[in-house]
């Protein structure tokens, strides 16, 4: 059965001032699948996923051309409600970035900014998100301690849980394991595989093995262009482009 398209990028160009960072990128991201973006540093993979939740809006002097459609919503349309978009598209960053607040406050933040006040409801959602992120058993006895007391891997799982609380449809992972040790990395990868049942996942990674382990689809980008996009197993076994093959075999990168 062919997967359903969740996000459809059409001819995306992106400029930092005069620099063209993305060149005519078109790709479909499928619902309940993990899509990995790989490629050497500076190839535009982070820039691309930050377009999906409009995080690039924060950088002055940038401009985007082309369309990204998510379930019929034109993401870049000036009248699109960015706040609502970001509730539907969660993001996990390269470095774990919990707020300097308690674990519980970190978790409830997303609900409280949405105006939810019902304590029981908030607590229920917090606990269920922590369980989904496989963090509940680690933290259940110290929910009111500072989130900064957690280890790096736990902090990152907290950030994932924090974004699950608002029940997004899509989760963007921007090199989520870049600062983690191999054991924490494995836990995050297991979590991603678990989460794809309920969410659409896009992950940027530097680590080709990681892409191979967690993703269903892989896009290889180079210098702002999409070189090849296909099922992960095809990309890693029978790539069509020579450049993809050379990158995957470590000839450059």
């Amino acid at each position: 059965m062919a997967p359903e398209t969740k996000i459809c990028a059409q001819h995306i160009d992106f400029f930092y001032g005069r620099t063209r960072a993305l060149k005519d990128i078109s790709l479909d991201i499928y619902a309940n699948r993990v899509t990995a973006l790989i490629g050497p540093s500076g190839c535009g993979k982070s820039t691309f996923i930050r377009l999906i939740n409009r995080m690039n809006d924060l950088i002055p002097g940038t401009r985007v051309e082309g369309k990204i459609i998510m379930d019929g919503l034109d993401i870049n349309h000036p009248r699109t409600d960015v706040v609502d978009l970001r509730r539907r598209v969660g993001m996990v960053f390269q470095k774990p970035n919990p707020f300097p607040k308690s674990i519980y406050e970190n978790m409830s933040y997303g609900l409280r900014i949405n105006g939810m006040k019902d304590r029981n409801f908030i607590e229920q959602r917090v606990v269920s998100a922590l369980k989904k992120a496989a963090l509940y058993d680690d933290v259940k006895d110290r929910l009111h301690e500072s989130a900064l007391m957690l280890s790096g891997g736990q902090q990152q799982r907290l950030c994932i849980a924090r974004c699950l609380v608002v029940e997004p449809e899509v989760i963007l992972f921007d090199e989520p394991c870049a600062s983690l040790d191999p054991i924490s990395t494995r836990k995050i990868e297991e979590l991603i595989l678990e989460l794809k049942k309920d969410y659409t996942i896009v992950i940027v990674t530097h680590n080709m093995q990681q892409a191979a382990r967690v993703s269903d689809y892989t896009a290889f980008m180079y210098m702002g262009e999409l070189v090849e996009y296909d099922l992960t197993e095809k990309i890693f076994t029978v790539p069509k482009e020579r450049m993809t093959e050379e990158y995957l075999s470590g000839k450059f990168g």
């Binding site: 939740n53 995080m55 924060l58 002055p60 706040v83 609502d84 970001r86 509730r87 969660g90 993001m91 960053f93 470095k95 970035n97 919990p98 707020f99 300097p100 607040k101 933040y109 997303g110 409280r112 900014i113 949405n114 900064l148 950030c159 924090r162 974004c163 608002v166």
Partner: protein
């Protein structure tokens, strides 16, 4: 060859040693000054306390140092200093913190490029100019406007001092805001918070103790300021009953009377004792600021 090499090496070592000593000496010079100042303050002010009990010196309601017999209670001066400082804080905290928030969070690139130098220029104006401005412009206007007997009073002093302390508060508060890692902001926005929620619920709490440090250091600046208050506070050594009474804060008392006090007299020693009090107050203020800012860095995980 090797002899020459060794010789050269010895020369380099010697040079490095000399530099180290030179800079160490310079660095310790300020310590020497500090010790010297504290020593002088103590030796020159202690004689007062052999004639006047410390409690009646601190809490005595009259300051008539040249009367016979002299009355040396600095309570009017202490209350004056606190009144003027408190008033100045009411002016400079909202303006300073507001300015910092605006520059850091809301201003466009052009507004920022304009406002930051304006604040720096404001900080660079000598205090005598503020005093002069307060005396010839602000005081007469307030006198007319509020119908008070004299424009030279605690209120005017607070106002002028507040404007003077604003740049200190604004630039330190802005530093505090810029220490908040961008990742906090991104995390909040990515969760669907709007700018205002991000500012009030994440950025400001994270910068909170840094902003308090800014406020406290602004207060230190206001307490120690001399020239301005000497010119605009009115100079009456009475415990103020209202904000519109002329007052004589501790700093301006020293400045005004040191010239007339006979060296070695009780009056002379009493002025040093006021200086000692001021020193202790500003020391306390700085220690509090340091404790808070250390807590702040720990909270953000920036280390000590």
């Amino acid at each position: 060859m090797s002899a020459m090499k060794i010789q050269r090496k010895a020369l380099v070592t010697l040079k490095e040693g000399a530099y180290k000593w030179l800079f160490a000496t310079l660095a310790f010079a300020s310590l020497v000054f500090l010790v010297g100042i504290v020593f002088t303050l103590l030796t020159e002010s202690l004689p007062v306390f052999s004639k006047i009990r410390p409690t009646s010196f601190l809490f005595g309601p009259f300051w008539y140092p040249t009367a016979d017999p002299p009355e040396m209670g600095i309570w009017p001066l202490i209350t004056a200093s606190f009144a003027v400082t408190a008033g100045a804080m009411v002016v400079c905290v909202p303006i300073g913190v507001g300015t910092a928030l605006f520059i850091h969070e809301l201003a466009g690139r052009r507004q920022r490029a304009f406002l930051k130098p304006v604040i720096e220029i404001l900080a660079g104006i000598p205090s005598i100019v503020y005093g002069f401005f307060g005396m010839v412009v602000v005081a007469p206007i307030l006198q007319d406007l509020l119908g008070i007997p004299t424009g030279l009073c605690a209120f005017t002093a607070s106002l002028v001092l507040g404007i003077m302390a604003t740049p200190t508060v604004a630039s330190l508060a802005e530093d505090a805001l810029s220490f908040v890692p961008r990742s906090f902001r991104e995390a909040s926005l990515a969760l669907g918070a709007n700018r205002w929620q991000t500012l009030t619920r994440v950025v400001m709490p994270a910068a909170g103790s840094g902003i308090s440090t800014a406020v406290i250091l602004g207060m230190g600046r206001a307490v120690g300021e001399t020239m301005t208050v000497l010119m605009v506070a009115g100079g009456a050594a009475m415990v103020p009953k209202s904000l519109f009474d002329p007052v004589r804060p501790m700093t301006s008392t020293i400045a005004a009377e040191m010239g007339e006090a006979v060296m070695g007299s009780l009056h002379y020693n009493a002025l040093f004792a006021i200086g000692l009090m001021l020193f202790l107050i500003t020391l306390g203020v700085n220690i509090i600021a340091e404790i808070i800012s250390r807590r702040f860095r720990l909270k953000l995980g920036l280390g000590r």
